[in-house]
């Protein structure tokens, strides 16, 4: 089980690095997907090795996948809107909400 948890932790760190450093909105969204998947691996690993009497961890992971899909749809629609308004999707230009 340790190997699965370590794999998920490293994958989460990679996704975190991407979210923190990407200039591109689509790059940030892709890194977010990596982090979701790291969390899912943790859920399924704990389901197999700790709470084996029911499939609750797998159920939770399925709902995470669905919510992540909805998040990606809305996020990419926002990306299209940003592109239309600013003619580019670099995060440096999008600072109108910065105080």
């Amino acid at each position: 089980m340790f190997y699965y948890l370590a794999l998920a932790a490293v994958l989460f760190a990679i996704g975190l690095f991407g979210v923190l450093t990407r200039r591109n909105v689509i790059g940030i969204l892709m890194s977010l997907e990596l982090m979701f998947n790291a969390a899912n691996i943790n859920f399924v690993a704990f389901n197999k090795y700790v709470a084996t009497e029911a499939l609750v961890g797998q159920m939770f992971a399925i709902f995470i996948v669905v919510v992540a899909a909805a998040e990606a749809v809305v996020g990419l629609a926002i990306v299209l809107l940003i592109y239309r308004n600013w003619r580019g999707i670099g995060m440096d230009n999008v600072n109108v909400m910065k105080w």
Partner: protein
Amino acid sequence: MPATEPGVVFWILAVVILVSGFLVVTLRNIFHCALCLILCLFAVAGIYVLLNAEFLAAAQVLIYVGAVAILIVFTVMLTTDLASRSLVQHNENATIAFVVCALFAIGVPWLITTTGVWIPPKGELPADNVGTIGKYLMTDFMLPFEVVSVLLLAALIGAIVLARKEHS
């Protein structure tokens, strides 16, 4: 903690996941990043199969590799001109972010190994994975199942409203 050595399949999948994940966050061409993301998600589906989650693996391939990845590729093609591939993709936080994430990636596995108390597993996983999940969806998880359908409808309408052209 029972340290059971995973098989060679796990190591292959882990290397594929970590290398492609690293490429996702470091490559300069965003289109190549999307292709690496597809590979990474596919390998995660393989990990699910190793963990006896067959339905989740199928859902992963259908939803992530099938739908979300295609959506991302479409958005990349709609928004970036592929000629601008030499764009600098990282901001000035890269060094400090790398240090923080490296500490996270080393520290969390270290914490996992040094934590001694692990609850022993109770019983066996149900043999009929897909059937059990179907029963759960119709009994214990009925309310979240319905709420998620409303959420998907809201996301659908929201995406249409956001991305539609405004005729003034």
